[in-house]
């Protein structure tokens, strides 16, 4: 499969990973077998990492989750810089994302999910702050999500066209 078709395939899957190989083949004008072989390769090379669903948890009743963004200031370690601390933080399952930041007053940004604010506070004081080389933390709670991973969660742009037009 050529590079540009591969890229189109990835974009289609990123939008909807439940499209069948048959459908993908029709859209991209190649055979089902070609699609399957290419997806296998992309998975083996860890280009396709996972097939998650984008869920609007705010619409799920009794949704218990609280999300916080935590700015973490770190003293870099000779030779390995921020890698070691970042890796340590990333391994906690309640941590959803870890990024090295530029230009901010801190170094590492951590996205954390917990059942209550208390749980998050606990994690920060008991796990994150005491880590070697962590200098300080600042915790920001997320109040509402408007857009997540490129998708507006409450989107009202329905099809408003008439059924038949010239």
């Amino acid at each position: 499969m050529d590079q540009s078709t591969t890229k189109k395939l990835l974009m289609l899957l990123e939008e909807n990973c439940r499209l069948s190989s048959h459908q993908l083949g029709l859209l991209l004008d190649c055979s089902e077998e070609e699609i399957e072989a290419e997806i296998k390769r992309l998975q083996a090379e860890k280009i396709i990492v996972k097939y998650p669903a984008l869920i609007n948890w705010e619409r799920v009743q009794d949704n218990p989750l609280v999300t916080a963004m935590i700015d973490v200031k770190v003293t870099p370690v000779r030779d390995i810089g921020f890698e070691k601390v970042a890796e340590r933080i990333a391994r906690f399952p309640e941590v959803k994302a870890v990024y090295l930041m530029s230009g901010a007053g801190y170094d590492i940004s951590v996205l954390l999910e917990g059942k209550t604010m208390h749980e998050i506070a606990n994690f920060v004081t008991k796990k994150l702050a005491p880590l070697d080389n962590v200098v300080s933390t600042a915790t920001h709670f997320i109040l509402k999500r408007y857009k997540h991973d490129g998708t507006i969660l409450e989107d009202y742009e329905d099809d408003r066209r008439m059924v038949v037009t010239p």
Partner: protein, 392 residues
């Protein structure tokens, strides 16, 4: 009340004008619930946000007054760059470009500006439904040029030559074509030029789908030597930028013709709506990667639909542009109108019978694939079931 049958209060011309065949079909489909429609002749995308935002912001800043008759000069300049980009032809924004209320107005003023009563205008069909009535309203006589699936609905020089008379004044066509999705290559345009020149015809080229071509670039007849001087190029923002409801188009033409069109425009329209002009300015100035994405998405859905139609046993040429597939339904033994009507009643899928776009369209249906993949899939499954009952 008097029981005497009153003479119509409408003019004879309007009285005799046929209502569009699409209208009848619309009324039928609109009266039903749960219809999946492949009958929509407009993009399924909402206008890109950057364009909507620019228009909102212009309103906030108080842009609510008339603009010059020809449209904002800034916008005409952008249209000039854009046209050069698309077809490598330069138009002077001061004297050769006019901003209109949709390509619809462009078509109207172009035809009215050139037709004297009794003049014949050639229409390449199947085609968009407005050409014929506008020619009649202008006092002209429409003369139809046939195309066929055998030649992928392209106009041939033989057909062109055969319909020209002493009264022939102009020819109007649209490529990439609604309803067939066909395009013309530069080589194919070249075969028509000698005939157009020999009979001194004006050319009205509707290029509203210019940006929607797949795997091949759009070629305009205007680029050929001598043609710019006899061509009126009509286009708009509806299809390329998903802006149908904004009602914004434009026309590019030699100065003497543009002056005529401007006269009609200034008395009937005054100017195109300013908020739509501000939106169009952003459409052309901003990053057009959104247009590229839409084109890619149409292209993928085209592959999907054409394959599905062929698999169910309908022959369908691969359309190179616009967002329509135009398969033949002759194998089912049904006329286009019967096919469309029965499909709607039995399977609640709306397509448009090809004959509403002219007699060349008989035996074909127009399936618009500007609709979500999910809807397309459902519609095609229903069509498959419908067709298989009728193929023996």
């Amino acid at each position: 009340m008097s029981s005497i049958v009153q003479k119509s209060r409408l003019s004879a011309t309007v009285e005799e004008l046929k209502p569009s065949g699409i209208r009848r079909f619309f009324d039928l489909a609109a009266s039903m619930e749960g219809v999946i429609s492949l009958g929509v002749g407009e993009p399924d995308f909402v206008t890109p946000w950057r364009i909507r935002e620019a228009s909102i912001s212009s309103l906030e800043r108080g842009y609510t007054a008339y603009t010059s008759n020809a449209g904002l000069l800034e916008l005409r300049k952008e249209i000039s760059y854009y046209t050069e980009d698309l077809i490598q032809v330069q138009y002077n924004p001061q004297t050769e470009i006019l901003v209109t209320v949709g390509a619809s107005e462009a078509i109207d003023i172009a035809l009215r500006a050139i037709i004297d009563p009794g003049d014949e205008v050639l229409i390449v069909e199947p085609c968009y439904v407005s050409y014929e009535p506008i020619i009649r309203l202008a006092g002209g006589v429409p003369v139809f040029l046939q195309t066929s699936a055998r030649h992928q609905f392209k106009l041939t020089p033989e057909e062109l030559e055969s319909k020209i008379t002493d009264r022939t004044r102009a020819i109007i066509f649209c490529y990439p074509n609604n309803p067939t999705g066909s395009i013309m290559t530069l080589e194919e345009w070249k075969t028509l030029v000698p005939i157009i020149e020999k009979h001194d015809l004006l050319v009205l080229s509707d290029e509203i789908y210019a940006e929607l071509t797949f795997g091949q670039k759009h070629e305009s007849i205007v680029t050929l030597p001598g043609m710019k001087d006899r061509t009126i190029l009509m286009s708009g923002f509806s299809k390329s930028f998903a802006m149908t409801g904004w009602r914004l188009g434009y026309v590019c033409a030699p100065e003497d013709l543009l002056v005529g069109m401007l006269k009609i425009h200034q008395y009937t329209i005054l100017c195109a709506p300013v908020m739509a002009q501000m939106a169009a300015l952003e459409a052309l100035r901003g990053n057009r990667s959104d247009v590229e994405k839409m084109v890619e998405s149409y292209s993928q859905r085209r592959n999907y639909v054409v394959k599905a139609l062929s698999d169910m046993g309908l022959t369908c040429h691969t359309p190179a542009g616009a967002f329509y597939a135009f398969p033949s339904v002759k194998a089912t033994g049904l006329t286009a109108a019967d096919f469309a009507e029965q499909l709607l009643m039995e399977e609640k899928v709306a397509v448009v019978p090809g004959d509403v776009f002219g007699t060349s369209g008989e035996g074909h249906i127009r399936c618009s694939y500007a609709t979500s993949l999910e809807q397309l899939k459902k519609a095609l499954e229903c069509m498959d079931r419908f067709v298989s009952k009728r193929l023996s």
